[in-house]
Symmetry: C2
Subunit: 237 residues, 2 copies
DNA sequence: GGAAACGTTCTGTCTAGCGGAATGCCGTTT
DNA sequence: AAACGGCATTCCGCTAGACAGAACGTTTCC
């Protein structure tokens, strides 16, 4: 569907960096004719997916925000996840993030910031590569990726990574399941490397896995496998 | 642009209540032919504005969430507003919300929940009527609505409403401005009526107006008018 | 085991979106 | 003050692509 694909192209021209774009900028980024954009923009504005500012520039509209909120809530989640995430962040003093899979990427769905001034900068709505970083690895593992380290992750229910996605960042992640053992997303505890080292992550494995188990139970699914993994992770390495 | 209007119609078929919809449900809500929806859905899914679940049902996709996050951040806001809102919520022990105008409606852009178990239920992304409730009144006033109570609001920079939008809810709101005295949005302190009464709201006027002034200064605009209003509100009524 | 409901595919018709040129509007430069 | 350049906007003839509806296949529910 050509017209619609182009409309989506227009929306995707917007990034976090630019709060608004002119017609010419949209044309440059999308490669579309200005007349085409103008026509499409009319409908997008009517639907409030796009907004026209007083100076004639465009920005993403409130309908996008409304839909985004629907997406976020379609994971049941907020009432179950946020208390778990808050507790984990208080125990660790580090940031806690919940990622979900989005095709070949992953999306940050919720985030609790650490109180530390130096922060590992990811925000709700950010899109990251699927197979990189501890959260990405765990998502990939429980979406059925073959080989290592994914086989091990499926056994131990967690993965520690240091400088995998970002050289200055380290973290540990565990999966959260919902009805029918379906993977909902992954809970990640992460922070800057000087502070978040291997010893710290080792100590945090158990609280993290217990948080993942608690969230899983919150979604009405049995979490004994994750609880077993929590005990093993704390005992062993 | 017919095709695009229909695509938006499909997206708008989704509400907070339903986490996913079947093809037939979308057809019923939009009045579109199923073949049309299927064609449009193809493009929407390609653009990740829509997602196909394993059971064949549809839900809003991650791209909507990404765009929503861009919208939220396009108000500069998060670094300026959240600390102000958090402080105000701690001072008052009630929920603090930031609304922005969205056409003839208003959107809840940020929200800090009170610690109380009984909560006044609005969430980020919710869409409310523009001209109702204290937040709505203030938005309308500073968007140029004529007559009362809007003239008074423009003089006093705040408005108290009790049971206006919702019979069980009361609140007080003040505007936040950005570069060029442009209205950005409105800060609302609100809660359930048994707890949030006239006396309480009177006491909260000053902290609220000071928070609005602080946010306005954070956006690089002079806030002396709001500060004057804060002193007056505390002295008078 | 029958029927209803649902998702999906297909096709001829015709509309509605397309590209590109042309116009008009500012703000800047010489 | 005039000319220029960059920008948004309008217009139009052509044709590709979206449309409605029927037909088909599959699953679900009595």
């Amino acid at each position: 569907m050509a017209a619609l694909d182009r409309a989506i192209l227009i929306l995707n021209a917007f990034t976090t960096a630019d709060r608004s774009l002119s017609l010419a900028e949209i044309a440059a980024r999308t490669g579309l004719y200005k007349s085409t954009i103008l026509r499409l923009a009319g409908s997008l504005i009517r639907g409030q997916l796009l907004e026209r500012l007083d100076d004639g520039r465009y920005r993403v509209g409130p309908a996008a925000f409304r839909l985004g909120a629907i997406y976020q809530r379609s994971f049941a989640s907020i009432d179950v996840l946020l208390p778990v995430m808050r507790d984990l962040s208080e125990q660790s003093n580090e940031s806690v993030t919940f990622y979900v899979r989005a095709g070949e990427m992953r999306t940050c769905l919720y985030r609790i910031e650490s109180k530390h001034p130096i922060r590992y900068m990811v925000r709700e709505g950010d899109v990251l590569p699927l197979r990189v970083g501890s959260g990405g690895r765990v998502l990939a593992a429980f979406s059925g990726t073959e080989g290592e380290p994914y086989e091990t992750i499926r056994r131990t229910y967690h993965f520690v990574s240091i400088g995998d996605r970002d050289p200055e960042t380290a973290g540990v992640s565990a999966p959260v399941f919902g009805p029918g053992r379906a993977l909902i997303g992954v809970l990640t505890l992460a922070g800057p490397r000087p502070r978040v080292d291997l010893a710290f992550l080792d100590r945090m494995k158990r609280p993290l896995l217990e948080a993942a188990a608690r969230a899983t139970r919150g979604f009405g699914e049995d979490a004994s496998a994750i609880e077993d993994a929590a005990r093993l992770a704390a005992g062993a390495d």
